[in-house]
Symmetry: C2
Subunit: 99 residues, 2 copies
DNA sequence: ATTATATATCGGCTTTATTCGATATGTCAA
DNA sequence: TTGACATATCGAATAAAGCCGATATATAAT
């Protein structure tokens, strides 16, 4: 997780996903709001905001998921990424006591 | 700080320095106990525990200091490194609210 | 002064991360 | 079933991190 967070873009993504409505206002074109915000934000929207190439962002999201920071759901042709709050909480708990 | 912590050895060092008496029991040969533990642990002792070369450990300690995790004091020919508790606390506070 | 010890810095090699464009895969719509 | 779109994966080039031995510097002891 430290490795995953030791990159500005990836840290930004994690923070953006804390408030998806705020940082991805035009999100939700493909799906009803309730569903899409709950399910996370799709790769394309994150890519646009991150201003990196599609492959880079896809790679980042994948590694953040492997690190446990994110989880993903697929709705049709879109993959929605959202925070893995439980794992993040465990991480911050670890930090509180062990760091 | 994420970068500095995204390495097992450096994370270990930070944790060891939380309880120097426990992890560096034979430390304090050169100086009275009160002084040396307060002042931190010398590079040689950290190096021995970390099982990396002298230059690597010196480099690690220097980068951890630059990141704000550690601070150092020089007593004669020894450099003592200890945790920068204030900066670490600020960091964990940031994590609590922003991550 | 010379020598020994502790730490820092330098140079260089190896490994890993970053990042992209191109291509593959998977899904939807016509 | 073909074409369009979203995402994932591949391959490769460049940058950064990891790491060490050798050397420099600073201090202490003789």
């Amino acid at each position: 997780m430290f490795k995953a967070l030791s990159n500005k873009t990836r840290l930004n993504i994690l923070q953006w996903l804390k408030e998806p409505e705020k940082h991805f206002p035009k999100q939700g074109a493909h799906l009803p709001k309730e569903v899409s915000y709950k399910g996370g934000v799709c790769v394309g929207d994150i890519q646009e905001k991150a201003e990196a190439s599609q492959s880079t962002v896809s790679h980042y999201l994948n590694m953040m998921q492997k690190a446990g920071l994110l989880e993903s759901v697929r709705y049709g042709q879109w993959t929605y990424y959202r925070r893995n709050e439980e794992a993040i909480h465990q991480f911050t708990e670890f930090l509180k006591t062990e760091i």
